[in-house]
Symmetry: C2
């Protein structure tokens, strides 16, 4: 170590000084620090990690960066990590299990301290292998069947309940629902929340008014057209959008179709996004708290717990309570007949 030579001490001492070992003499520490500064010394983390068996790198594998929930998770996560000088390795997997698998293998080769996976919902075997090696893992957004890792998900069911109740409380009785396919955790749970709440209020659900499809923008147009066909005749006065991707095309489509919001139609979305506040009118939504999800995940995989035997007696499934964000796209139901008199 060059620094040691310049400071005129052994490399043990130099190392200790740099690492802030309390038993080093203040004066010699000074000398070492000065030498280090002069040489513009930067310790080699690889060597340190190899020796200490501790690494300061975290990993996150995520489906995409476009969905605002996912993006906010990544941003908050990397912010928290940065605050503690931890690094984060990113992989955008597009829901591809193979990408994810590769990432997880890499995680063990690079000895990551922890990994969070918001992805395909597969690879439980690999996920378990990580835990076995002492790498803490948490899965987000989707349940991964058979994994022993903790998981953090929005409370999809509750978010749907919340939205439906909100609409009902505003006097709406005929409510339409645009959601995601039932093969997804979120698709199933939001639909159930809607059904249960309507049922509990003795409200009827017209089957022709629920439209389920892929989580893709283009489904917004498809669903929008179907919705329009039945809207008037079914006297629908409110719409729940449980398919965020679809909302990207759905909202412009509705504006284009001259549907007046909220006068003619109230709308609420089950996932929030910045642009909802920019829309005219601003769109009410359910905030599923991506930031808090990231915080929880960070806490769980924090390296301070590194090496701590993580005796998982069972995967804990955290569900964050959603929050209703009222903006201007939901109005109270005006009975058309009364309006006529």
């Amino acid at each position: 170590m060059q620094v040691a030579a310049l400071a005129g001490v052994s490399k043990s001492t130099a190392s200790r000084a740099l690492i802030n070992d309390p038993r080093i003499l203040p004066t010699t520490r000074e000398a070492v620090l000065k030498a280090s500064d002069e040489l513009n010394y930067h310790p080699n983390s690889l060597a340190r990690s190899l020796k200490t068996k501790k690494t300061s790198m975290l990993g996150i594998a995520i489906n995409n960066l476009q969905n605002s929930t996912l993006r906010e998770i990544v941003e908050r996560f990397q912010e928290l990590a940065g605050d503690e000088n931890l690094q984060v390795l990113l992989s955008v997997t597009h829901g591809n299990p193979d990408e994810e698998a590769r990432f997880l293998d890499m995680a063990i080769e690079l000895q990551l301290a922890g990994v969070i996976v918001a992805g395909s919902g597969q690879n439980s075997d690999r996920l378990n292998r990580l835990s076995a090696r002492g790498i803490s893992t948490v899965s987000m957004i989707r349940l991964v069947e058979g994994a022993e890792a903790h998981s953090i998900l929005p409370d999809y069911y509750q978010s749907s309940v919340l939205a439906t109740q909100h609409l009902i409380s505003q006097g709406h009785k005929k409510i339409s629902f645009i959601g995601g396919h039932k093969i997804y955790t979120s698709g199933r749970e939001t639909l159930k929340g809607f059904y249960d709440t309507m049922f509990a209020s003795n409200l009827r659900i017209d089957q022709s008014c629920v439209h389920l499809g892929p989580y893709e923008p283009s489904f917004g147009n498809v669903a929008g057209k179907k919705f329009l066909e039945t809207m008037r005749e079914s006297k629908v006065s409110a719409l729940i959008v449980a398919n965020h991707e679809a909302s990207h095309e759905l909202l412009p489509f509705l504006t284009q179709s001259k549907i007046s919001i909220p006068d003619e139609l109230s709308i609420i979305c089950l996932e929030d996004a910045e642009w909802f506040t920019w829309w005219h009118p601003p769109i009410s939504a359910i905030n599923n708290r991506p930031k808090e999800m990231a915080e929880l995940a960070f806490e769980i995989i924090h390296p301070k717990n590194y090496g701590v035997k993580n005796v998982i007696t069972g995967a804990e499934n955290f569900r964050l309570a959603p929050i209703l964000v009222e903006r201007e796209s939901v109005g109270s139901f005006k009975n058309p007949r009364r309006a006529k008199k």
Copy 2:
């Protein structure tokens, strides 16, 4: 090494077999591979990197993940890296030079193979320090004064020229401009492109029709209002939006204001985004080719060039030629008087 023991060879041989050294006997390689498989062996990259002085990690520091250009750069970059089993460390800096500095220091401690910075435009000293240590660097989006690194930027000037020419070719003579502050490379260059092109066509620019502001969504509303005030009296028939962030609020604002696009007003944006295709009507834009920028950047910092003495005689400044993407928000100019007859 456990694998060596199981396979009954020395660890030298095991290592060579795993690393695909050609002079290992096929049969012994088989044995080693089998043992490795059985033990579920994963090599420790840290140790390998320490020895070989080669690392498979790249870094990217970026202002934010919301801007679609930046997001696409990150996505493409990580995709390319993933294809070659390279890892990417991400830092979202929010344009904060200190964050960036910390990231750069970390880059040398972690011995990253290469780093790309699309950020504050500062930290030239640290950037140069990286190059001095053999870490290849490239700066993107903004020029960083005094850095010896290569830089890759959209050709802001040309994108503005392209848009203006397009509008002029459609018969527009009164054109308004909403852009970014002149303190930014992009703000200056887009404005100049607009001026030069108008001037070259002997077209007059009404100073009350150019609005410059911060790259923030809220400026969209501000600029939109100012624009509306002058639009009719100045007989403006087309608008160039050179401030992408502002467009988020500007476009909804214009729709809300019942401006009919493109009949009353033609619009073209100098930065593309997915949602422009979902808008009604789809918004014409200039594609500044974020994907190609990422590809170029990746090529430059590729570890295959690691260790190669990077004799930089001067920072090369790459500018990618922008592409006009015609959609439906630009129409040809209809002379109002003629329409009346």
